[in-house]
Symmetry: C2
Subunit: 192 residues, 2 copies
Amino acid sequence: MKRDTRQAILLAGAELIHRQGFNRTGIKEILDLAGVPKGSFYFYFPSKEAFGLALIDHFTEHMGGTARSILFDPGLPPLERLARFFATLREKFSDLHCARGCPIGNLSQEMSDLSPAIQQRVCAAFSGMAGLLARVLGEAAERGELSGGIDPDQAAAFIVDAWEGALLRMKAEKRIDPLLRFEDIIFTRVLR
Amino acid sequence: MKRDTRQAILLAGAELIHRQGFNRTGIKEILDLAGVPKGSFYFYFPSKEAFGLALIDHFTEHMGGTARSILFDPGLPPLERLARFFATLREKFSDLHCARGCPIGNLSQEMSDLSPAIQQRVCAAFSGMAGLLARVLGEAAERGELSGGIDPDQAAAFIVDAWEGALLRMKAEKRIDPLLRFEDIIFTRVLR
Protein backbone atom coordinates (compact mmCIF):
# COMPACT_ATOMS: atom_id res chain seq x y z
CA MET A 1 0.00 0.00 0.00
CA LYS A 2 2.78 2.41 0.98
CA ARG A 3 4.69 1.30 -2.11
CA ASP A 4 1.59 2.01 -4.20
CA THR A 5 1.18 5.55 -2.90
CA ARG A 6 4.83 6.34 -3.58
CA GLN A 7 4.48 4.88 -7.07
CA ALA A 8 1.28 6.84 -7.73
CA ILE A 9 3.02 10.10 -6.78
CA LEU A 10 5.98 9.20 -8.97
CA LEU A 11 3.84 8.37 -12.01
CA ALA A 12 1.74 11.52 -11.64
CA GLY A 13 4.89 13.62 -11.26
CA ALA A 14 6.53 11.95 -14.25
CA GLU A 15 3.49 12.74 -16.39
CA LEU A 16 3.16 16.37 -15.29
CA ILE A 17 6.86 17.20 -15.26
CA HIS A 18 7.48 15.59 -18.64
CA ARG A 19 4.55 17.63 -19.99
CA GLN A 20 5.25 21.03 -18.45
CA GLY A 21 8.64 21.04 -16.73
CA PHE A 22 10.04 20.65 -13.23
CA ASN A 23 9.94 24.24 -12.06
CA ARG A 24 6.45 24.84 -13.37
CA THR A 25 4.95 21.82 -11.65
CA GLY A 26 3.84 22.22 -8.06
CA ILE A 27 3.71 19.46 -5.46
CA LYS A 28 0.00 20.07 -4.88
CA GLU A 29 -0.71 19.55 -8.58
CA ILE A 30 1.16 16.21 -8.51
CA LEU A 31 -0.76 15.01 -5.46
CA ASP A 32 -4.09 16.08 -6.99
CA LEU A 33 -3.36 14.06 -10.13
CA ALA A 34 -2.16 11.10 -8.08
CA GLY A 35 -5.32 11.32 -5.97
CA VAL A 36 -3.43 10.93 -2.71
CA PRO A 37 -3.79 13.01 0.48
CA LYS A 38 -1.93 16.27 0.74
CA GLY A 39 0.42 15.23 3.54
CA SER A 40 1.72 12.19 1.64
CA PHE A 41 4.45 13.83 -0.40
CA TYR A 42 6.93 14.57 2.36
CA PHE A 43 6.38 11.13 3.87
CA TYR A 44 7.95 9.61 0.76
CA PHE A 45 10.21 12.40 -0.48
CA PRO A 46 12.13 14.71 1.84
CA SER A 47 12.12 17.53 -0.74
CA LYS A 48 11.19 18.38 -4.30
CA GLU A 49 14.86 17.86 -5.19
CA ALA A 50 14.73 14.33 -3.77
CA PHE A 51 11.60 13.78 -5.84
CA GLY A 52 13.53 14.96 -8.92
CA LEU A 53 16.23 12.37 -8.20
CA ALA A 54 13.62 9.62 -7.84
CA LEU A 55 12.10 10.76 -11.14
CA ILE A 56 15.45 10.49 -12.92
CA ASP A 57 15.80 6.93 -11.60
CA HIS A 58 12.27 6.18 -12.75
CA PHE A 59 12.88 7.50 -16.28
CA THR A 60 16.30 5.84 -16.49
CA GLU A 61 14.90 2.45 -15.52
CA HIS A 62 12.06 2.72 -17.99
CA MET A 63 14.32 3.90 -20.80
CA GLY A 64 17.08 1.42 -19.93
CA GLY A 65 14.58 -1.45 -20.24
CA THR A 66 13.48 -0.37 -23.71
CA ALA A 67 17.07 0.27 -24.75
CA ARG A 68 18.41 -3.10 -23.60
CA SER A 69 15.60 -5.10 -25.22
CA ILE A 70 16.37 -3.55 -28.62
CA LEU A 71 20.12 -2.90 -28.41
CA PHE A 72 21.02 -6.43 -27.31
CA ASP A 73 18.57 -8.37 -29.44
CA PRO A 74 20.75 -11.35 -30.46
CA GLY A 75 18.96 -11.81 -33.79
CA LEU A 76 20.26 -8.65 -35.46
CA PRO A 77 23.68 -7.22 -36.35
CA PRO A 78 24.79 -4.36 -34.05
CA LEU A 79 24.25 -1.35 -36.33
CA GLU A 80 20.80 -2.61 -37.32
CA ARG A 81 19.91 -2.82 -33.64
CA LEU A 82 21.10 0.73 -33.14
CA ALA A 83 19.05 1.92 -36.12
CA ARG A 84 16.00 0.08 -34.80
CA PHE A 85 16.45 1.70 -31.40
CA PHE A 86 16.33 5.24 -32.78
CA ALA A 87 13.51 4.39 -35.19
CA THR A 88 11.48 3.03 -32.25
CA LEU A 89 12.05 6.19 -30.25
CA ARG A 90 11.14 8.31 -33.25
CA GLU A 91 7.83 6.46 -33.63
CA LYS A 92 7.12 7.04 -29.95
CA PHE A 93 7.70 10.78 -30.30
CA SER A 94 5.61 10.81 -33.46
CA ASP A 95 2.73 9.34 -31.41
CA LEU A 96 3.27 12.13 -28.87
CA HIS A 97 2.93 14.72 -31.69
CA CYS A 98 6.57 15.73 -31.20
CA ALA A 99 5.89 17.13 -27.76
CA ARG A 100 7.70 16.69 -24.44
CA GLY A 101 11.15 15.65 -25.62
CA CYS A 102 13.59 13.73 -23.45
CA PRO A 103 12.61 13.78 -19.76
CA ILE A 104 16.25 13.50 -18.68
CA GLY A 105 17.33 16.21 -21.11
CA ASN A 106 14.58 18.49 -19.85
CA LEU A 107 15.54 18.02 -16.21
CA SER A 108 19.16 18.49 -17.13
CA GLN A 109 18.43 21.76 -18.93
CA GLU A 110 16.27 23.12 -16.12
CA MET A 111 18.18 21.92 -13.08
CA SER A 112 21.89 21.30 -13.82
CA ASP A 113 22.88 24.77 -12.65
CA LEU A 114 20.49 24.80 -9.70
CA SER A 115 20.94 21.42 -8.01
CA PRO A 116 24.31 19.63 -7.88
CA ALA A 117 22.50 16.43 -6.84
CA ILE A 118 20.26 16.49 -9.92
CA GLN A 119 23.20 17.53 -12.09
CA GLN A 120 25.18 14.47 -11.00
CA ARG A 121 22.23 12.13 -11.44
CA VAL A 122 21.45 13.29 -14.99
CA CYS A 123 25.14 12.94 -15.86
CA ALA A 124 25.06 9.36 -14.66
CA ALA A 125 21.94 8.77 -16.75
CA PHE A 126 23.57 10.19 -19.89
CA SER A 127 26.76 8.20 -19.27
CA GLY A 128 24.74 5.03 -18.70
CA MET A 129 22.96 5.46 -22.03
CA ALA A 130 26.24 6.28 -23.80
CA GLY A 131 27.72 3.13 -22.25
CA LEU A 132 24.98 0.96 -23.77
CA LEU A 133 25.50 2.52 -27.19
CA ALA A 134 29.28 2.12 -26.87
CA ARG A 135 28.86 -1.63 -26.28
CA VAL A 136 26.85 -1.93 -29.50
CA LEU A 137 29.39 0.16 -31.41
CA GLY A 138 32.20 -1.92 -29.92
CA GLU A 139 30.53 -5.05 -31.31
CA ALA A 140 30.17 -3.36 -34.71
CA ALA A 141 33.87 -2.43 -34.62
CA GLU A 142 34.86 -6.03 -33.85
CA ARG A 143 32.84 -7.21 -36.84
CA GLY A 144 34.55 -4.58 -39.01
CA GLU A 145 31.23 -2.82 -39.58
CA LEU A 146 32.25 0.52 -38.12
CA SER A 147 34.02 3.18 -40.13
CA GLY A 148 37.77 3.18 -39.49
CA GLY A 149 39.23 5.66 -37.07
CA ILE A 150 36.18 6.24 -34.95
CA ASP A 151 36.35 5.38 -31.27
CA PRO A 152 33.18 3.61 -30.05
CA ASP A 153 33.12 5.56 -26.75
CA GLN A 154 33.53 8.95 -28.44
CA ALA A 155 30.97 8.09 -31.10
CA ALA A 156 28.48 6.87 -28.49
CA ALA A 157 28.85 10.04 -26.42
CA PHE A 158 28.43 12.19 -29.53
CA ILE A 159 25.34 10.23 -30.55
CA VAL A 160 23.71 10.80 -27.15
CA ASP A 161 24.42 14.54 -27.37
CA ALA A 162 23.24 14.87 -30.97
CA TRP A 163 20.10 12.90 -30.12
CA GLU A 164 19.30 15.29 -27.27
CA GLY A 165 19.74 18.21 -29.64
CA ALA A 166 17.56 16.58 -32.29
CA LEU A 167 14.81 16.06 -29.69
CA LEU A 168 15.07 19.67 -28.60
CA ARG A 169 14.64 20.85 -32.20
CA MET A 170 11.80 18.36 -32.81
CA LYS A 171 9.99 19.78 -29.78
CA ALA A 172 10.53 23.32 -31.07
CA GLU A 173 9.47 22.56 -34.64
CA LYS A 174 6.71 20.08 -33.80
CA ARG A 175 8.00 17.96 -36.66
CA ILE A 176 9.82 14.65 -36.74
CA ASP A 177 12.32 15.91 -39.38
CA PRO A 178 15.18 16.62 -36.95
CA LEU A 179 15.08 12.96 -35.83
CA LEU A 180 15.15 11.70 -39.43
CA ARG A 181 18.05 14.04 -40.16
CA PHE A 182 19.87 12.73 -37.06
CA GLU A 183 19.40 9.11 -38.16
CA ASP A 184 20.52 9.88 -41.71
CA ILE A 185 23.72 11.72 -40.75
CA ILE A 186 24.71 9.41 -37.89
CA PHE A 187 24.35 6.26 -39.97
CA THR A 188 25.60 7.50 -43.33
CA ARG A 189 28.41 9.86 -42.25
CA VAL A 190 29.45 9.44 -38.63
CA LEU A 191 29.49 5.65 -38.30
CA ARG A 192 30.19 4.49 -41.86
CA MET B 1 14.41 57.34 -20.83
CA LYS B 2 11.50 55.02 -21.63
CA ARG B 3 13.78 53.12 -23.98
CA ASP B 4 16.36 52.82 -21.18
CA THR B 5 13.84 51.36 -18.73
CA ARG B 6 12.67 48.79 -21.25
CA GLN B 7 16.28 47.88 -21.99
CA ALA B 8 17.12 47.62 -18.28
CA ILE B 9 14.23 45.20 -17.74
CA LEU B 10 15.30 43.19 -20.77
CA LEU B 11 18.93 42.94 -19.67
CA ALA B 12 17.99 41.97 -16.11
CA GLY B 13 15.55 39.37 -17.42
CA ALA B 14 18.12 38.00 -19.87
CA GLU B 15 20.62 37.58 -17.04
CA LEU B 16 18.21 35.92 -14.60
CA ILE B 17 16.43 33.72 -17.11
CA HIS B 18 19.65 32.55 -18.70
CA ARG B 19 20.92 31.71 -15.21
CA GLN B 20 17.87 30.01 -13.71
CA GLY B 21 15.19 29.46 -16.36
CA PHE B 22 12.01 31.14 -17.57
CA ASN B 23 9.48 29.46 -15.32
CA ARG B 24 11.58 29.85 -12.22
CA THR B 25 12.13 33.58 -12.67
CA GLY B 26 9.46 35.92 -11.39
CA ILE B 27 8.67 39.36 -12.77
CA LYS B 28 9.30 40.95 -9.38
CA GLU B 29 12.80 39.44 -9.30
CA ILE B 30 13.55 40.90 -12.74
CA LEU B 31 12.34 44.37 -11.74
CA ASP B 32 14.35 44.23 -8.50
CA LEU B 33 17.54 43.44 -10.41
CA ALA B 34 16.77 46.11 -13.02
CA GLY B 35 16.16 48.61 -10.23
CA VAL B 36 12.98 49.93 -11.81
CA PRO B 37 9.59 50.54 -10.18
CA LYS B 38 7.18 47.67 -9.76
CA GLY B 39 4.53 48.95 -12.14
CA SER B 40 6.96 49.31 -15.07
CA PHE B 41 6.83 45.78 -16.42
CA TYR B 42 3.33 45.79 -17.85
CA PHE B 43 3.88 49.22 -19.33
CA TYR B 44 6.50 47.72 -21.66
CA PHE B 45 5.40 44.09 -21.94
CA PRO B 46 1.74 43.04 -22.02
CA SER B 47 2.56 39.63 -20.50
CA LYS B 48 5.41 37.39 -19.40
CA GLU B 49 4.98 35.56 -22.72
CA ALA B 50 5.48 38.84 -24.61
CA PHE B 51 8.59 39.39 -22.51
CA GLY B 52 9.80 35.91 -23.51
CA LEU B 53 9.39 36.87 -27.18
CA ALA B 54 11.32 40.10 -26.67
CA LEU B 55 14.05 38.08 -24.93
CA ILE B 56 14.35 35.71 -27.88
CA ASP B 57 14.77 38.72 -30.18
CA HIS B 58 17.38 40.14 -27.81
CA PHE B 59 19.41 36.92 -27.70
CA THR B 60 19.02 36.36 -31.45
CA GLU B 61 20.29 39.84 -32.26
CA HIS B 62 23.24 39.50 -29.91
CA MET B 63 24.14 36.04 -31.20
CA GLY B 64 23.52 36.96 -34.83
CA GLY B 65 26.02 39.83 -34.53
CA THR B 66 28.75 37.58 -33.16
CA ALA B 67 27.96 34.91 -35.72
CA ARG B 68 28.04 37.25 -38.74
CA SER B 69 31.30 38.90 -37.71
CA ILE B 70 33.06 35.53 -37.59
CA LEU B 71 31.20 33.52 -40.22
CA PHE B 72 31.56 36.13 -42.96
CA ASP B 73 35.09 37.29 -42.22
CA PRO B 74 36.42 37.71 -45.78
CA GLY B 75 40.00 36.88 -44.76
CA LEU B 76 39.46 33.19 -44.03
CA PRO B 77 38.24 30.16 -46.01
CA PRO B 78 34.66 29.08 -45.12
CA LEU B 79 35.34 25.97 -43.05
CA GLU B 80 38.01 27.80 -41.04
CA ARG B 81 35.47 30.51 -40.25
CA LEU B 82 33.00 27.87 -39.12
CA ALA B 83 35.65 26.25 -36.91
CA ARG B 84 36.57 29.64 -35.46
CA PHE B 85 32.92 30.34 -34.71
CA PHE B 86 32.47 27.21 -32.61
CA ALA B 87 35.86 27.64 -30.93
CA THR B 88 34.87 31.20 -29.95
CA LEU B 89 31.59 30.00 -28.44
CA ARG B 90 33.41 27.21 -26.63
CA GLU B 91 35.78 29.73 -25.05
CA LYS B 92 32.81 31.83 -23.96
CA PHE B 93 31.20 28.84 -22.26
CA SER B 94 34.51 27.92 -20.70
CA ASP B 95 34.59 31.41 -19.14
CA LEU B 96 31.07 30.78 -17.81
CA HIS B 97 32.32 27.55 -16.14
CA CYS B 98 30.12 25.51 -18.49
CA ALA B 99 26.95 26.89 -16.95
CA ARG B 100 23.78 28.31 -18.52
CA GLY B 101 23.91 26.75 -21.97
CA CYS B 102 22.10 28.21 -24.97
CA PRO B 103 19.46 30.79 -23.98
CA ILE B 104 17.34 29.96 -27.05
CA GLY B 105 17.69 26.23 -26.45
CA ASN B 106 16.67 26.68 -22.82
CA LEU B 107 13.57 28.69 -23.70
CA SER B 108 12.76 26.19 -26.40
CA GLN B 109 12.99 23.27 -23.98
CA GLU B 110 10.92 24.97 -21.31
CA MET B 111 8.27 26.70 -23.40
CA SER B 112 7.78 24.99 -26.80
CA ASP B 113 4.88 22.90 -25.52
CA LEU B 114 3.37 25.68 -23.42
CA SER B 115 3.38 28.76 -25.68
CA PRO B 116 2.81 28.51 -29.45
CA ALA B 117 4.11 32.08 -29.82
CA ILE B 118 7.41 31.25 -28.11
CA GLN B 119 7.59 27.95 -29.99
CA GLN B 120 7.35 29.75 -33.33
CA ARG B 121 9.86 32.41 -32.33
CA VAL B 122 12.52 29.90 -31.19
CA CYS B 123 11.98 27.95 -34.42
CA ALA B 124 12.66 31.09 -36.41
CA ALA B 125 15.80 31.70 -34.32
CA PHE B 126 17.09 28.16 -34.96
CA SER B 127 16.29 28.41 -38.67
CA GLY B 128 18.01 31.78 -38.87
CA MET B 129 21.16 30.35 -37.32
CA ALA B 130 21.02 27.29 -39.58
CA GLY B 131 20.63 29.64 -42.55
CA LEU B 132 23.87 31.44 -41.68
CA LEU B 133 25.74 28.16 -41.35
CA ALA B 134 24.24 26.90 -44.62
CA ARG B 135 25.63 29.95 -46.44
CA VAL B 136 29.11 29.18 -45.14
CA LEU B 137 28.76 25.51 -46.06
CA GLY B 138 27.46 26.51 -49.50
CA GLU B 139 30.62 28.56 -50.04
CA ALA B 140 32.73 25.60 -48.94
CA ALA B 141 30.85 23.34 -51.36
CA GLU B 142 31.49 25.76 -54.23
CA ARG B 143 35.18 25.71 -53.44
CA GLY B 144 35.10 21.91 -53.38
CA GLU B 145 36.03 21.87 -49.70
CA LEU B 146 32.95 20.04 -48.49
CA SER B 147 32.70 16.27 -48.47
CA GLY B 148 30.78 14.96 -51.48
CA GLY B 149 27.14 14.05 -51.09
CA ILE B 150 26.33 16.28 -48.17
CA ASP B 151 23.68 18.94 -48.64
CA PRO B 152 24.67 22.28 -47.05
CA ASP B 153 21.14 22.93 -45.69
CA GLN B 154 20.82 19.47 -44.15
CA ALA B 155 24.32 19.66 -42.72
CA ALA B 156 23.70 23.14 -41.27
CA ALA B 157 20.45 22.05 -39.62
CA PHE B 158 22.15 18.97 -38.17
CA ILE B 159 25.03 21.09 -36.86
CA VAL B 160 22.63 23.44 -35.05
CA ASP B 161 20.84 20.48 -33.44
CA ALA B 162 24.05 18.67 -32.48
CA TRP B 163 25.44 21.92 -31.03
CA GLU B 164 22.35 22.35 -28.86
CA GLY B 165 22.78 18.79 -27.63
CA ALA B 166 26.48 19.32 -26.94
CA LEU B 167 25.64 22.43 -24.89
CA LEU B 168 23.03 20.53 -22.94
CA ARG B 169 25.55 17.83 -22.07
CA MET B 170 28.24 20.43 -21.24
CA LYS B 171 25.83 22.07 -18.81
CA ALA B 172 25.07 18.68 -17.23
CA GLU B 173 28.71 17.58 -16.99
CA LYS B 174 30.17 20.97 -16.16
CA ARG B 175 32.97 20.16 -18.60
CA ILE B 176 33.86 21.50 -21.99
CA ASP B 177 34.48 17.99 -23.42
CA PRO B 178 31.12 17.63 -25.21
CA LEU B 179 31.91 20.80 -27.21
CA LEU B 180 35.36 19.51 -28.18
CA ARG B 181 33.80 16.20 -29.20
CA PHE B 182 31.21 18.07 -31.28
CA GLU B 183 33.91 20.06 -33.08
CA ASP B 184 36.01 16.97 -33.71
CA ILE B 185 33.21 14.84 -35.17
CA ILE B 186 31.57 17.62 -37.18
CA PHE B 187 34.82 18.67 -38.84
CA THR B 188 36.51 15.30 -39.27
CA ARG B 189 33.51 13.09 -40.11
CA VAL B 190 30.37 15.02 -41.03
CA LEU B 191 31.80 17.74 -43.27
CA ARG B 192 34.94 16.12 -44.69
